[in-house]
Amino acid sequence: MLVVDRLSVAYGSIKAVREVSLRVEKGEIVALLGPNGAGKTSLISAIVGLVPSAGGKVELDGTDISRKRTEDIVRLGATVTPEGRKIFGDLTVGQNLRLGAAVRRDRDGIAADIEQMLTMFPILRERFASRAQTLSGGEQQQLAIARSMMSRPKLLMLDEPSLGLAPRLVEQIFGLITELRAKGLTLLVVEQNAYDALALADRAYIMNSGRLQFSGRSEDLLASDDLMEHYLGTGTGGHAGAPG
C-alpha cells in the first residue's frame, strides 16, 4: 500500500531523514520506533507532503505521491493523526468531526460515520457540543483519531498516539488501533513507547539519527533482548524511550 524509497528530509543544512526506505502492506500494523529526534515525525510529515522531501520517492497504491500536496494525498486515502493531537480547540467536538469529513459530499454517509465514531468513543458523544480544548488529553487523542477516521482513510499514520497519556488510556488507544485494523484499515504507528507498540504491530522499523537501523518482525524484536537492548536501549521488561 505504502512504499517509501530512499526518502530524505533536510531542514536547511540539517538532515533529519537520510534515505529511509520502508513498506506498509494492506491490512498491516507497522510500528516506526526510535528515540526522540530520530526523524520519525519528519519522515511521516514528508510522506504526506507537510514538509518537502530532499530526495527519494513515495508511492501510495502504486501512485507516485512524492510531489503531491498534502490535501491531495489525504484525498487519495493516506492521512496522519498528528503528534500532540492538534485538535481544533476553538471548535466543538462535533465541528472537529465535521471538518474531518470536509472532503466528502455524502451527507448520509458522514452522519452515519459520526454516529459510528460516537459509539466507538462514548466520551465524544457526551462532550459533542463542548469546545475541544476543554477535553482532557486522552479525550483529545480519541477525538484526533476519530477526526482522522472521518475522511475514511485507507492508510492512517498515528504520530505518538500514546504521548502524555496515562497507562490505562494508552491501553485503550492501542486496543482501538487493533479494532481499526479489524475494520480493514492499514496503520503506521510512530511510537517511542516501543514495548506497547511492538505488542500490537506485525512489523517494526527502528530509526535513529535520521537513519533506518532495523526492520523486522515485531515478535523477533520482542524475543531478543539483545536486539531490544541494542536498538531501543532496553532489556527485558523495561519500557523504551517514552517517559511515564
Binding site: 498534502t70 484525498r75 496522519v80 498528528p82 480547540g89 472532503v103 477526526r147 475522511s151
Partner: protein, 301 residues
C-alpha cells in the same frame, strides 16, 4: 433626544466603517499571518472602478456603481493574493509585510502616473444615499442608517459563515494550525482565497460608503480609513475578529465623543486625542482588548 440619536448613529456609522475594514485585516492576518498594508488600495481600486464606469459607460442610474464597486474590491483582493501574496506565502512574515507595502506603492503610483489622477475626481452616488429620512420626528441621514445596518448584517452573515459552514470552520481552524487543516484534505488555497474574498467584500462595502461620503476619488483615498482600521484592529487585539469589530466601534465612539466634548479651538486635534486614548488602553492591555498575549507566538506551520 434628536441630537443624541444622531450622535449615536454617527458613532455607529463611522465605527461600522472601521469595523468592516479592521475585520478584513483581521481575517487575512489570522488565516495566513499577513499584515495587509495594501488593504487601503482595495478601496482605491473600487473607487476608481466606479469612476471609470461613470465616465466611460455613463450608466443611466448611479445604482449600478455600487455592485460594480464591491465586485471590483473583491477582484482586487483576490488578484493581490494570487499575484503577490501566494508566491511568498511560506516565507517569513516580514516578507509578506514588505510585499504588501510593495503592492500598495505600485497601485498608488499606477493611479498617479498612468491614470494621471493627481487631483480628486468627482463620482456621483445615488441621490437617495445623501437624503434624509424622518423617523418619529428624528432626522436621520439615509447613508448613516444604511452604513450601520449593512455593517450589522455583514457581521451577522460572517458569524454564520464562521460557525456553520465547512469553509468557515476551516478558516477558524487554519488561524491556529494550517497544517492540520490540510490534513483534513481541505485545500489551503481555498481557505486563503475565502479569507481574501471576505476581506475584499468587506472593504468593498466600506468603499461604497466612503465614496458616498466623499463623492470623489483620488489615489490616496484608502490610506486614512485603513490607518484607522489598523488602529481599531490593534486596539481590539490584532487577529481577533471580535476585537476588530469592538475596536472599530470603540474608535467610532471615541471620535464622536471627542468631537462633542472638545472645544472648537482644539477640535482639529481630535485624532490626536483619540490616538492618545488608544495608547493609554494599550499600555494597560498591550495585547489589545480581545487579543491573547501569546497570539503571535503560538501559530504553527
Amino acid at each position: 433626544m434628536d441630537y443624541v440619536i444622531q450622535q449615536v448613529l454617527n458613532a455607529a456609522s463611522i465605527g461600522g466603517e472601521y469595523a468592516l475594514l479592521a475585520l478584513g485585516l483581521a481575517i487575512v492576518f489570522s488565516v495566513m499571518g499577513l499584515v495587509n498594508f495594501a488593504h487601503g488600495e482595495i478601496i482605491t481600486i473600487a473607487g476608481f472602478t466606479m469612476y471609470a464606469l461613470f465616465i466611460f459607460a455613463s450608466p443611466t442610474s448611479a445604482w449600478w456603481l455600487l455592485p460594480i464597486g464591491i465586485a471590483a474590491a473583491i477582484a482586487a483582493a483576490v488578484t493581490f493574493e494570487r499575484v503577490a501574496f501566494r508566491p511568498v506565502r511560506n516565507a517569513p512574515a516580514t516578507t509578506g509585510l514588505l510585499t504588501a507595502f510593495g503592492v500598495s506603492i505600485v497601485v498608488k503610483n499606477f493611479f498617479v502616473s498612468v491614470v494621471g489622477a493627481t487631483r480628486p475626481r468627482a463620482v456621483p452616488t445615488p441621490d437617495w444615499l445623501g437624503s434624509q429620512i424622518v423617523i418619529g420626528g428624528v432626522h436621520i441621514q439615509t447613508l448613516q442608517l444604511l452604513e450601520a445596518a449593512v455593517t450589522a448584517i455583514a457581521l451577522i452573515a460572517l458569524l454564520a459563515l464562521l460557525r456553520g459552514t465547512n469553509i468557515g470552520l476551516a478558516m477558524r481552524a487554519a488561524a491556529k494550525d494550517f497544517n492540520t487543516v490540510r490534513l483534513m484534505g481541505i485545500r489551503a488555497n481555498q481557505v486563503v482565497l475565502a479569507a481574501f474574498v471576505i476581506s475584499g467584500l468587506l472593504a468593498g462595502l466600506a468603499a461604497v460608503f466612503i465614496m458616498a461620503r466623499r463623492g470623489a476619488v483620488d489615489p490616496f483615498m484608502g490610506f486614512s480609513p485603513v490607518l484607522k482600521a489598523f488602529v481599531a484592529a490593534v486596539l481590539g487585539g490584532f487577529g481577533s475578529l471580535t476585537g476588530a469589530v469592538v475596536g472599530g466601534l470603540a474608535l467610532g465612539v471615541a471620535e464622536v465623543l471627542f468631537q462633542i466634548v472638545l472645544p472648537d479651538k482644539i477640535a482639529g486635534y481630535r485624532d490626536a486625542f483619540v490616538f492618545l486614548l488608544v495608547g493609554a488602553v494599550l499600555i494597560l492591555r498591550p495585547q489589545g482588548l480581545f487579543g491573547r498575549k501569546y497570539q503571535f507566538g503560538d501559530k504553527e506551520g
